[in-house]
Amino acid sequence: MSRVSSPTFRDSLSVSFTVGAYGVAFGAAAVANGFSVLQSCLLSLLTFSGASQFAVVGVIGAGGSAISGIATASLLGIRNGLYGVLMAPILQVRGFKRFVAAHITIDESTGVSLSQESRGLKAMREGFWLTGFGVFLFWNLFTLAGALGAKAMGDPSAWGLDAAVPAAFLGLVWPRLKNTTDKTLAIVAAIFAIATTPFLPAGLPIIGTALLAVIAGLWVKK
């Protein structure tokens, strides 16, 4: 890659570091939910999609089956596929490069890339690669730090880790609540999940809310 324009570099780096630092919360959450340090780090290296990682850890940690954990995480991963659809015509890569591009196709790399549109195609590509690799680097380093830190702490409740996990989910969903439909869906989904927890096998109360999302999507025609 030739010279990178400095505003693009600055955008990419600041997003990479800030978002990567959330990896601490993930590493700690994974260990608090019974995952080993190795498993926590592998999730960050191989899954590399924050919400999906928090979800699989949260669902299995709450006693859900591996299947419901994977299903919930995968539903959250669908949006990365849609980002790929947006990014493919911008990146125009094949073969091994396409594999790498796919792996780092996440909220942040796509977001920074699309935000560079006024600076031209070259800046969009640079924004994607820099942010993707940047988040990957920091996310994995901070995951390791969080996992080791949580391991050293012992009782997760005494350190508030058991509340940090739902707070992290809340922090992920909050910026997405833009209109009344979003907010209503969030509240209905929360109530549905709590109300069905005593009756449904663990994991289903969460993944079942995907149906609520489909219903809401069909309902609101705009």
């Binding site: 954990g69 949006r79 659809v85 594999f99 508030g160 058991d162 997405r176 109530i191 489909v214």
Partner: protein, 103 residues
Amino acid sequence: MSNALWIGVIGTSVIAFALKFAGHSVPEKLLSHPLIKRINLLIPIALLSALVAVQSVTTKSSIVFDHRLAGLGAAILALFLKAPFPIVVLSAAITSAAVYNLF
């Protein structure tokens, strides 16, 4: 339990990559239907909200109101004050730990 964890780690990773790679490989028309786009924005909202709820007030298959709820309250307050993500998580952890250790 430990098997379930490994299956979760590997299964999630394989599907996560498959979804990303599929996006880079399918024709754009297939997924650009407005209904699919709309539902795709709504699914994370439903799932993440459900996760917030389940992780805050349930333990196994019972509804339990404990120190975590205080932490969640702190997180909501922080979000209303437009605090950045790390502050949101930290304020929840500190509040919850305080309630857990003091009462």
